[in-house]
């Protein structure tokens, strides 16, 4: 019996992420959604700088490598010229909210029908765990060895709050992609609800683009290596601290794709 394959995922593609990182989960869901909607052949992926750069080794779609933070500008240009194609990008929190916030905000304000997936792991992952604008208060990183000081650095940036003020965004959602650890009497288990919700969010984001709307989904995930935690501890941290700083919410659904 043959194993079912997704046409958008390489048969022998191996992700470049550390064990336990949910970035790979996001790529898997993007591949699945592209297949389910039958848009693999007309999809163009724009990669940003960070851990998402090497996504092209996993997803078998057209790929343009953007400079650090500039992916939304490139996506906008491609979409304006190739109106019937599906253009999406994966950005990290450092890429989208630190260096590239201007490009993200202006693309969102114009409402060009593109899809931005933001994987928020609250640190700069690829450069080795420095503080990001999204780092929660008190979190220790390599550049904040005594924890993030809110008086000096300000509170963590909330992408959904910023973007919800733009009227031309059609789909704006924040989900937790990290499986929730469940502590039973004798062992730890993981729930699959978060993963299922994340997949739905990916699917709805693409559906919104097909209906000519700008979509943005923020995924709260882990970076256990740079947080210097075990896989289990990092998952616990997201569900204990992360969801308080970044509560999952559906901020905008102009076309009602959630209900369908």
């Amino acid at each position: 019996m043959e194993v079912k394959q997704f046409s958008s995922i390489f048969e022998n593609g191996v992700t470049t992420y550390c064990p336990g990182c949910e970035h790979g989960l996001l790529l898997k869901f993007i591949g699945m959604a592209l297949d389910e909607l039958g848009i693999t052949e007309k999809a163009i992926m724009v990669g940003s700088v960070g851990c998402s750069t090497l996504a092209y080794k996993f997803l078998n779609v057209d790929y343009v490598q953007a400079p650090h933070g500039r992916a939304p500008a490139i996506m906008s240009a491609i979409k304006l010229l190739e109106k019937d194609k599906v253009v999406f990008g994966i950005q990290g929190d450092g890429d989208a909210l630190s260096i590239g916030i201007a490009e993200l905000i202006h693309a969102a304000n114009r409402g060009i029908p593109i899809t931005v997936f933001m994987y928020n792991n609250m640190v700069f992952g690829m450069t080795g765990g420095q503080m990001a604008p999204t780092t929660p208060e008190g979190m220790k990183t390599t550049t904040t060895p005594f924890g993030r000081d809110i008086k000096q650095m300000g509170p963590p940036l909330d992408a959904c709050k910023i973007l919800s003020s733009f009227p031309q965004i059609s789909y704006l959602k924040r989900v937790v992609i990290t499986p929730k650890p469940i502590f039973t009497k004798d062992r730890v288990m993981y729930s699959s609800k978060e993963a299922m919700d994340s997949y739905k969010a990916v699917l709805n984001a693409f559906k919104t683009q097909l209906m000519e709307g700008f979509s943005f989904v923020e995924f709260i995930g882990t970076c256990n290596v740079n947080w210097k935690m075990s896989i289990l501890d990092s998952k616990k941290y997201v569900h204990e601290v992360g969801v308080k700083v970044y509560p999952p919410a559906l901020c905008r659904d102009a076309f009602g794709v959630e209900k369908k």
Binding site: V3, I9, V14, T15, G20, G24, K28, V188, M189, S192
Partner: protein
Amino acid sequence: MYQVVHSKWEVIINRERCKGCEICINACPQENLSLSKNVNSQGYHYVEFSEVGKKGECTGCKICWWVCPEYAILEVRRIEKTDNGS
């Protein structure tokens, strides 16, 4: 004459993709998954599936498939074995 259909499930794993993060091992309610003693070409201990776990047979709940971040668990599928009783 009657027919008994034993529904069994199997988990297809791509060993080369697996990085041994053990999320699926913890997630499996029946404890059908375990870490192999061998390593793959990346140097990771990969996950192995056994039909009968510590708490019983695989029920095909697909939780392992949903939580695997590497897409190493390719598919959870049904194998049907038909017994012709007498």
